[in-house]
Symmetry: C2
Subunit: 104 residues, 2 copies
DNA sequence: TCTTTAGTAAACCATTTGGTTATATTTTAT
DNA sequence: ATAAAATATAACCAAATGGTTTACTAAAGA
């Protein structure tokens, strides 16, 4: 009954978005991921935990290493959410104009 | 030189996403927005400030009222970011399979 | 077997977040 | 002129966040 991590919250952090960018297309060891940032390895561990908790990253244990792979289909939720508003922002300039007229 | 609010962080909060949903297609008073939630008016004020700081909402002062309109084209940034990874998640099942084979 | 190496876990810390209540401030209505 | 309404501002608070360091555990090499 665990409230599974929210993907919106997961991608809110720039470091986590960078990790996603790094893992897109390639599987990397946790340590290798950490090597790309100026923060400590435990900090990266935490970020990766959050990313796995919402399904954005899959970690496979292999010997003493953790192989991290991006599972980015979880991003579909984000796209779907944002996409539903496309109709609105297409008419945005008009709306703003109306608004300013209304306000005089 | 203000670091303009991050839209990713803005949409991380569920209440703010709900406000966006509420304002999509209709301009509402701050108070009317607040009426749709169980939290105090100052709390809504803060959320709206964050939403305006990243351009997702425009507030027009009209007398003593604030008319809030969604400017959702700012969501394009989110879609664009996520969309760039579509190619990766399409091949996801294979990748995961490879991964498991590799791991035996 | 002994020592690296890879990663986790725990304890801690400062800052941010999301909320509160209470008190202004500014329009509008009476 | 006064009262009510719409919002802002301030002071405050608990919990979450993003980071640290310091062990600890487990696998791999020498």
């Amino acid at each position: 009954m665990k409230a599974r991590r929210d993907v919106f919250q997961a991608i809110a952090d720039p470091t986590r978005r960078a990790i996603i960018g790094l893992l897109a297309g390639q599987t990397l060891t946790l340590n290798t991921v950490a090597g790309n940032f100026n923060i400590s390895q435990p900090a990266i561990s935490k970020h990766l935990r959050i990313l796995t908790e919402c399904g954005l990253v899959t970690v496979v244990k292999q010997g003493r290493e953790r192989h991290c792979t991006a599972s980015l289909q979880a991003l579909q939720e984000v796209i779907q959410w944002a996409e539903q508003y496309r109709a609105f922002w297409n008419s945005r300039l008009d709306t703003l104009e109306d608004l300013l007229n209304e306000a005089e």
